[in-house]
């Protein structure tokens, strides 16, 4: 099923100043979209706005032709899921219990836990490789395992759109790649539209179908990484002088920072 998620003239903020102001953005359906930018550029704020965690100050977020704030929250939750940056879980909760909590929007006072819920939870744990952890308490898991469990919970919610706020932040490089591979699997096998905020530009360029580069609450460039990421854009967005080479593995743009103590060495030396 195809979905439309876009923002029109969207302004968001916490204090007196807007963090994101008058932004128009469209999330391509069925693709992996990665939002990048320096700290405090508004990328997480934009993601939170798209997930209706922040009320728009101007404009609106449109989901399938309707303004998100006009839809019932639980209806949105059946189409659009979100994994927050630092999710919290009650002490002592087990993996299976936590993943099962993802079924919340599919249940009600009148609709009890069903075979469909069972199947969704089992499938979510299967595809994230967390099935064997089912009875373990979340607190006993490593960071990488824990993040896979959270992804499993978002999957159990069974939404076509999944938004993730810096899901790789506390993971080592091995688990970052593992998680992004997992998200790519979900995108390809289940045709899920995935939007994530990432810090690592090289991984962002490798895994994104569509990249959105933000600075000071505005979108500087967006498009396929190979088309839009070059040294000038990185310098503008991050204020970082760098070289951009083709990634030897994926041929996507690879950013090599310069810094004050390192300048390019001629290859012939």
């Amino acid at each position: 099923m195809t979905h439309e998620l876009r923002a029109e003239d969207l302004s968001l903020g916490y204090g007196p100043q807007d963090v994101v102001s008058h932004l128009d953005v469209e999330i391509p359906d069925g693709k992996i979209t990665v939002i990048v930018g320096a700290n405090a550029c508004g990328k997480s704020t934009l993601l939170r706005g798209l997930a209706r965690l922040l009320a728009p100050r101007t404009g609106s977020v449109i989901l399938d032709g309707k303004r998100v704030q006009d839809l019932r929250s639980v209806e949105v939750a059946r189409v659009l899921g979100l994994l927050p940056q630092t999710p919290v879980a009650p002490d002592g909760i087990t993996v299976a219990d936590l993943v099962g909590r993802g079924r919340y929007p599919h249940q009600s006072w009148f609709r009890r836990w069903s075979a469909e819920d069972d199947a969704a939870v089992a499938a979510a744990m299967e595809s994230t490789g967390t099935a064997e952890l089912a009875d373990r308490p979340l607190s006993a898991l490593s960071g990488g395992q824990r993040q896979r469990v959270w992804v499993a919970m978002a999957l159990a919610q069974d939404t076509d759109l999944v938004l993730l706020d810096e899901p790789t932040t506390y993971l080592d490089i091995n688990h970052q790649v593992e998680l992004l591979d997992l998200l790519t699997d979900l995108n390809r096998r289940h045709a899920k539209t995935i939007v994530l905020v990432l810090h690592d530009l090289n991984l962002a360029c490798r895994y994104a179908d569509h990249i959105i580069a933000m600075k000071a609450g505005a979108i500087i460039r967006e498009g396929a990484p190979i088309d839009v990421i070059d040294a000038a854009v990185v310098t503008e967005v991050f204020g970082l002088p760098c070289e951009v080479l083709p990634d030897p593995v994926s041929r996507t743009p690879m950013i090599v920072p310069r810094g004050r103590h390192h300048v390019p060495v001629p290859e012939s030396v």
């Binding site: 659009l80 919290v88 002592g92 087990t94 219990d97 836990w113 069972d118 939870v121």
Partner: protein
């Protein structure tokens, strides 16, 4: 394996949905049966045991063939039974109020006593009686609700200032400040009136002695409503326990949920306080005991709390009756003595912040 695991589910009570439970639903349900049994025993002892020695035969006769001229039978019917019933509903109310507050604020130290809610309710009640001349429990119970609501509003409001919101420490500090404030008001008002001082003395310390039928009939309906709301709020509290962002992402209306929860706390704590005076520690400690027994699923925590709280309150009341020779220790005093070490143990736990 996962499917097999997920299938080992059982319906949770007090909710429309069941979920896979890390402990077997059968075991949890068996635990409920045990608790119901223990509660029945404690309630029975509460009716049979007291400073006046009344035999079982007399108790039986008090119910089946009541003789109004028999003092022992009257004591049972007019004193011990209502006292036990008040202890039962007030215990449930205080425990559930604590469980709700802990769930809504995700704060293990949240409790109607610590947050100043009980003190707020009692201050408003005392002022309404002494200053406004309000008479009758049926009227001043509304001042109890109002005082509880004001305390919640002030404490949660003050504690929520700042970036990280209502942290355990800020909530406890704001609660301590509000408690001190309300307590001074109560003391000041009471001190100016010697006659009333005597009457309020026991109520102030928290007691279910001398709580006769009118106290029960006038407060129990409110507590019953509050208890019902609490028992059905497990699903909502489960949502909130994952954090506000996740709760919204899962489709929960968190402002509405919080409002309903706070109103029910005001009703529960306000009515319980109007009935017994400010009783502490039940709301704080019992939900933690419940969690230790049944795990973090609030649909179970609420039911376990609802049964454990009156067990503990009535037991403390019984201890107060038998431990002080000819007189009695008020249940509030007993719970204070027993509860303080439990509170300290709770604060010393390392994983306190994760609820």
């Amino acid at each position: 394996m996962t499917l097999a695991h997920a299938r080992s589910t059982s319906p949770a009570p007090g909710s429309g949905v069941a979920a896979p439970s890390h402990r077997h639903g059968g075991g949890l349900a068996a635990g409920l049966v045990v608790l119901v049994g223990v509660l029945a025993v404690v309630a029975f002892v509460s009716v049979t045991l007291g400073t006046r020695d009344v035999g079982l035969a007399t108790i039986w006769k008090a119910f089946t063939d009541f003789d109004p001229d028999n003092t022992s039978e009257t004591v049972i019917r007019e004193l011990r039974v209502p006292r036990t019933l008040v202890g039962l509903v007030a215990g449930m109310s205080l425990g559930l109020a604590g469980a709700i507050l802990q769930g809504v604020t995700r704060n293990p130290l949240a409790d109607p006593g610590i947050m100043g809610i009980n003190t707020g309710a009692s201050a408003f009640i005392v002022v309404s009686i002494m200053v406004l001349g309000v008479q009758g429990l049926g009227t001043y119970i509304w001042f109890g609700f109002l005082g509880a609501a004001v305390a919640i509003f002030v404490v949660y409001g003050v504690a929520s200032f700042g970036r990280e919101g209502a942290t355990p420490v800020k909530l406890a500090l704001a609660g301590a400040a509000v408690t001190a404030g309300f307590y001074s008001v109560t003391t000041g008002v009471v001190m100016t009136n010697v006659d009333a001082l005597n009457e309020l003395r026991f109520w102030q310390v928290g007691s279910i002695a001398g709580r006769y039928w009118p106290v029960f009939t006038q407060t129990a309906p409110f507590m019953a409503v509050g208890v019902a709301v609490a028992l059905f709020s497990g699903r909502a509290l489960n949502g909130l326990s994952l954090g506000d962002d996740m709760a919204v992402a899962l489709g929960q209306r968190i402002r509405l949920t919080r409002s309903i929860m706070f109103v029910s706390v005001a009703v529960l704590a306000g009515a319980a306080t109007a009935a017994c005076g400010p009783i502490v520690f039940i709301g704080l400690v019992v939900p933690h005991v419940a969690r230790a027994l049944c795990g973090p699923d609030y649909r179970w925590v609420m039911v376990y709390t609802a049964l454990l709280s009156p067990i503990i309150l009535l037991s403390a009341d019984i201890i107060g009756r038998v431990s002080a020779g000819d007189g009695e220790l008020q249940v509030g005093v007993v719970l204070g003595v027993l509860g303080a070490p439990a509170f300290i143990a709770l604060v010393r736990r390392r994983d306190l912040a994760e609820l």
